[in-house]
Symmetry: C2
Subunit: 478 residues, 2 copies
């Protein structure tokens, strides 16, 4: 028999006390994080070894939870909120963004329908429109929030598939000719995952070679398109990247937009990283043609200081997304008319209240504050680049239009020996603790990447990275 | 020119002060929420009208953000954390779950690779295994966290497609025979969305009729399967539901598992709601056959008191998920071997640290505390059901094995008039403020649903709902 007294949640005074302790834990963490090595010192299995194999039978007090968080979890993480995190794309859980998440967690609403979250729905629409204005996209673009660019791009390509007029929603792809999608050889792996998920197949994702600056080669695209059409394939979409993952290169957006229009392809632009920079007019100019897209993804959780997860999918054809995905079973019907029911634009029915944190971030810094911060990051990357260029032991490996620099050491020796040198150099720099850089390959050569994007990073941290790189290279050369 | 002083985030003392104010805001909300009408009083457009059309150019202080949250957002929401929320499936952002989210927001890690979040990866594996043990699933089941059951089910069916041995990952679905999936006519719309997204097509989703208790009719399934095979279709998956959305009925899991094995179908069980109940032996018995699944989804953000989003996908064939989705571009390669890189099991590369909140919830209540809370909810639903049964003006419309009761008023009149009566009754009860119920249709008749799942709900709230229903019915009958 269940007990007759309702068991309920933590009593409110207990929650309040633990909430204040948690507030201090997080504030302490943000203060302390520069003292951690960016990469926690743990080896595989270290954390698992500290966690009981079986679930606890009995309740434990808040103190035990918070103490174990501090003891087991915090020291054994890679610290993405560390000023020395210069790997992949560096991100920020900013103060206002964190508090937006906190409020959303307390509310715990599900913004699947307008009726189930009026304020969450209308705030999401408004905040996405603010971002649209900041990116100087035409007013017909409508945005909604997804968790990740992986999902945003998958939805965009699902819209492309629907727009092909073959009623794939109803009949599926069986019996159709292969539907092909085009992107550069520098496009993100999320495009591959979308091609897999949507049933198009990796073979139907045509990765087009790039020019010397890692931008999709337009004439190569035209050749492949013509050959595919001749072979009976059905091209449906072109994915351009504005800020590739390896080098942050920008495909020729305008030229590609014109081809997409001429060839009747859905034009999706992956601006997950560099879209944020487009709030500055000088960087928006580098993204000329962005407005030709049928859909654009940009991730405020990348370079707009918003905690993960927060990805905006803009489209000028929201009706196509709805045509692909809208479904209203009886148990979700509601009386309101003329409202937006956000679940109709994608796969996920459940939707967190992500708009709150983005609203807080835009207001806390203001459009001018966001622009100024992005400009600083680009400026510091440019300074780092000048240091690399001035050192005969190093070379810059790609243009760096934004806040990411690809470079490598060029010791004497074969290309393979140089690759090994750079891999060891990276390992050694990352093992030091204060900074974390990552790598990529460009034209088959191993290349280091320094990416600036965390709000706690300063020029001093970038300089420290360069000093550590120089010292490590010297030691390896000795 | 950017300013030379780094602009950075909010200064730490400012963040700390705002964090404590936010802690109080959330604690106040949880204390105050019973006084709100469950459905905020706002009309479409009310919130939008209070939000500036253009983004702010200048920074605003934390006070302004928090004040606008309290003024514009909080009163204009549907309160999912309200004890009178008895609609859809009622959920809980519990105290420990909220604090888990807070810490995750502060850390802002991305658990895409072991290297990028060692503790997040190993905690996710361990906590999923705790839940596996609580559900009494065999040890070969491996779990990982997704945002929603919509995604978990889509991934499960992608695995089913991959397991068919047609190399859909590489070649796509073009040129293949139609691949068919089977579920009941009571299965959730997420199965439809998965069929759309994966390119199978809605036509290839065979919705099989149910028996009198809204459970998939096994003999009807066998007939459809045989006819499909005879017609040259290729059946790949069977989706059973353990806790359907309308009535929480449980498909005959064991019989379906045997058919799936015989017919070589991937067997996916959607236990998004009722999976949580399986931590109690008496309800686990209702889910006999759960262990026959190839994959099972259950959502701790539904009935395990964890804030949205948190969905666990268990599978005994994790290698198939990896075969479908694993991709490692150079920029994601890391040196560690023998570790789990969680992005390889699905579409999304970016992954929030969701394990933290689930760890906190399981520890804060303990397995016995979770079981006792679920038992109370089921007990109270059973009491509500007895009140309905005892009232000649009402009838219960389906079995209620868990915490959800389907019922309706049965005034004299045609079935259509009864439907209108119940729709008006629902509207009137929900307009009162203290409670929010939802509806569905069963055998084409309009039916009300009362779903218990929030930790703040007590038997008194359920009784209040019944009183309001009775009063509203009386008024409508008068």
């Amino acid at each position: 028999m269940p007990p007759s007294e309702p068991l309920g949640d933590w009593p409110n005074p207990n929650f309040r006390a633990a909430a204040h302790r948690t507030a201090d834990l997080v504030a302490d963490y943000l203060q302390r994080v520069p003292q951690y090595p960016v990469l926690g010192a743990c080896k595989p299995g270290d954390v698992a070894a500290q966690l009981p194999a079986a679930p606890p039978e009995h309740a434990e007090p808040a103190e035990a939870l918070l103490a174990d968080y501090a003891r087991i979890i915090e020291p054994n993480l890679t610290h993405w909120n560390h000023p020395g995190f210069l790997a992949y794309f560096s991100i920020t859980g900013s103060g206002p963004g964190i508090l937006g998440e906190w409020l959303a967690a307390g509310l715990n609403v599900n913004a699947m329908l307008w009726r189930t979250s009026p304020a969450a729905t209308e705030l999401e629409e408004r905040v996405c429109d603010w971002l649209r204005q900041m990116l100087v996209l035409p007013s017909e673009f409508q945005g909604h929030l997804n968790d990740t660019a992986s999902i945003s791009t998958m939805l965009a390509l699902a819209a492309a598939r629907e727009a092909a007029g073959l009623d794939v929603r109803t009949h599926g792809l069986a019996g159709l000719p292969p539907l092909t999608v085009y992107c550069s050889d520098q496009a993100h792996s999320s495009v591959d995952k979308a091609a897999i998920a949507l049933g198009l197949g990796l073979d139907q994702l045509r990765r087009i070679p790039c020019d010397a600056a890692f931008r999709l080669d337009v004439s190569a695209l035209e050749r492949v398109l013509a050959a595919d059409r001749a072979a009976g394939k059905r091209p449906i979409a072109l994915v351009a990247t504005a800020g590739t993952t390896s080098t942050t290169s920008v495909d020729p957006l305008r030229a590609l937009g014109e081809i997409a229009r001429r060839e009747n392809l859905w034009y999706h632009i992956d601006a997950a990283y560099a879209g944020s920079a487009a709030i500055c007019p000088e960087f928006r100019a580098l993204l000329d043609g962005l407005e030709l897209a049928d859909s654009v993804v940009t991730n405020p959780h990348k370079w707009l200081f918003t905690p993960v997860d927060c990805s905006v999918l803009f489209t000028r054809k929201p009706g196509v997304l709805k045509a692909a995905f809208a479904l209203t079973p009886e148990y979700l019907r509601s009386a309101e008319t003329g409202v937006t029911n956000l679940n109709e634009y994608g796969v996920q029915l459940g939707r967190r209240f992500r708009a709150l944190k983005l609203w807080f971030v835009i207001r806390a810094f203001g459009a001018e504050g966001l622009r100024a911060r992005i400009r600083q990051h680009v400026q510091w990357a440019s300074e780092f680049r000048s240091w690399v260029e001035a050192d005969p032991g190093f070379e810059v490996c790609a243009p760096s239009p934004f806040s990411t620099v690809c470079f490598r050491a060029v010791p004497p020796g074969t290309p393979e020996a140089q690759d090994r040198f750079n891999a060891t150099l990276l390992e050694s720099v990352n093992a030091a603790g204060p900074v974390f850089l990552s790598h990529t390959k460009l034209r088959d050569r191993y290349v280091l990447r320094l990416a600036i994007g965390n709000l706690r990073t300063t020029l001093a941290h970038v300089l420290q990275a360069w000093t550590l790189i120089g010292e490590a290279a010297k030691k390896l050369n000795a």
